[in-house]
Amino acid sequence: MGERKVGRREFLKLVGAGAAISIVPTVGAKLAPLARSIFSRGPHPGDTGGGNHRWLMVIDLARCDGCGACTKACSAMHMAPPGQEWIKVYNLEHEGLAASHYFPRPCMQCDNPPCVNVCPVGASYKRSDGIVLIDQEICIGCRMCLAACPYSARYFNWTEPPHTEQELSQSYSVETNLPHRKGVAEKCLFCPALTSQGMLPACVSACPTGAIFFGDENENAVTNGVGQTLQLSELLHEGAAHRHMEELGTEPRVWYLPPRTQPTSMPNEPSEILISGAEGVRVKI
């Protein structure tokens, strides 16, 4: 008994320390997924619902005559609340002597999306097929995404949107954001409900001049509303394509071809276009 070197207190400390060390890996293993879930992009981490695609858009500004058919088709298809133009045709006025030109602005579906980065609840998220979606069942309506988007592509339902029977009959899906509801953010979604059925987004099909091309980066092909399918890499390269405000580093998935060149041969000149009116909104940059 007299040879006892380790007292009870020391013994308990040793046991405690041993236990503490032994549970570190266990706790660590438990904490790792927790940490991942905290730092992941919200409740839709790595959503692969869009399949093996990388959607993008190419807009040929030289072909855009500002008719506004895209906006009309979009609003009709999405039953967009009044005042919202998910694809909006601006008339860009440049400083000095440069001519103004029309500029259709959908959501840019940025690969480094500021709206997704600032969303506090993960309602805005980036899907593996490249599009940015809004889960309106989670959105708290803080509007940080509206403040963060440099393209003013986001809208907010300031009041209960007017409903139609057809709209209310839909069951909510992040791919349609229908029926619309009060107090949440809205924006262009690249029409995932159409593309999943192999159809073009509403604005692309509606464009009478074929200015809007849509396609899959993985397939290296884009198609417009007048039936042209072109090789994406060649179109971007030959057409000297750029992305709007590239310097911001948002990496948009919408490419623009310059307004005064004709990189692609027009299949047939859109001489008499039936859709008229819808003057583009005049803007200054």
Partner: protein, 531 residues
Amino acid sequence: MTSIFRDSSKSVMGSLNAQEKVLLRPVMEWGRGFYLTVGGLAAIAAVGVFAYFTQLRDGLAVTGMRDTVSWGLYIINFVFFIGISHVGALLSSILRLTGAQWRHPITRMAEAITFAALLMGALMPIVDLGRPERVLNLITNGRLQSPILWDILSITTYLTGSVIFLLLPLIPDMALLRDKFANAPAWRRWIYKIFSFGWRGTPEQHARLERSMNTMAILILPIAVMVHTVVSWIFAMTLRPGWNSTIFGPYFVAGALASGAASVVLAMAVFRKMYHLDKFITLDHFKKMAVLVLTLDILYLYLNISEYVTLAYKMQGPEKAELGELFTGRFAGMFWTTQIVGLIVPACLLVLPSIKAVTGLSRIRPLRPLPLAVGGAILFAISLATPFAQSFLGTDLSLLIAVLRVGVLMLAGLAVLSLLPWLQARPVTSFVIASALIVVQAWFKRFLIVVPVMENPFITEGNAALSLYRPTWVEWAITAGAMAGFLLIYFLLSRLVPIVSVWETAHAKSAETVAGPAHSPLPVPTSSPEV
């Protein structure tokens, strides 16, 4: 409850010493003034609550906010209140750590401002939410990448720290009330009992309290700096021209400290008058606070210059539109008023009592009231006669009108000059006016930080009328309600516990008596001059 309560409270007052009598009177006697003040403030707050229910029913469409200007008065109030809240940490912590003995009568005022302002400030973003019923999503689905989560974490930490920081030095005073205010209503006796935490005033308890307060003073400083930095990052983490600035953190912290310190000067003046605290809050305190406010005012002015001059010199890129609106456009009046009347004039008013030359002004004849009044009357008569003269003579008198305008401006300048000796003889009035200007400036400066930037995004509407922001009555009512709520919480706190720490003031006094006035670091002036 009036007569019985008052009689019994008088008997209680008998067992207090002279100092305790003065400091505890507002706590022990809730007269008619108390209920009128509470009723008035609660009524204004109720209007704000009513406006909020309108907003809940009809959505945020009842506000002036739209897709271009998607943040408005609520976010402005949020930044304003969080800014005001900074002063508790500043005064209590920095003055404690530097051992400034003069702080004792004002630290609790400052800490209570922090508490009340944080409560109202934290409420504002929730009022701003489109889906307030989902506010808990911030916890269940919170994402740490979002600056809003940083805000929530830092503000809750700061609120917790501020409550502890407010409660710790309250313990001995709570115990005093527990022991001496036996005839208080049951709920108040309960509060005093709970929050005195078994305080008996033993040396060991004093040592522990002292250690805890020092620890909190150190802990609260980085938290306070963090809070307002993170608030500024709500803006600075976006790409918006005008917000996309590296200076925003220190810029907001400096503005917050200036407005907070100024609001303490206002609180000192109001409480001194209302609770007859002339013996505790002396001219010396005002003078020391004036130096603090002046320093912070100049610091904020400097950061304003740094922020705007670097952009204005280049006047290019996406900031051009917003800066144009600020310097010469729609917001020019507000912008230059905040800079000149809100920062430069207060700086002059704060140094005014220390300038010797001003007294000479009163010897200049045109600066006396009578010549000024006569000059004003003559100018007024001429300006009334001018239209008649113009129609009678049939000649263009625009030159005369221009001369008249210059005359009015000069007269106004002379009137201001003639006020200077008057203000100089009343340093507290001068400091209070300066502080009020700084606090009002703070609110409008936040308006200028939020609204012009939102009205001028990268891609602007050609039709500018669509993107202009005009706050509606709902927003103004909620703003007024929030201000009233802040004052109400602050006022109630000052009637529930002594707003000047009884034990610390007594402690400081006794320390001074032992050391002798010559050795005390900052002697309290024996007589307070006319103020």
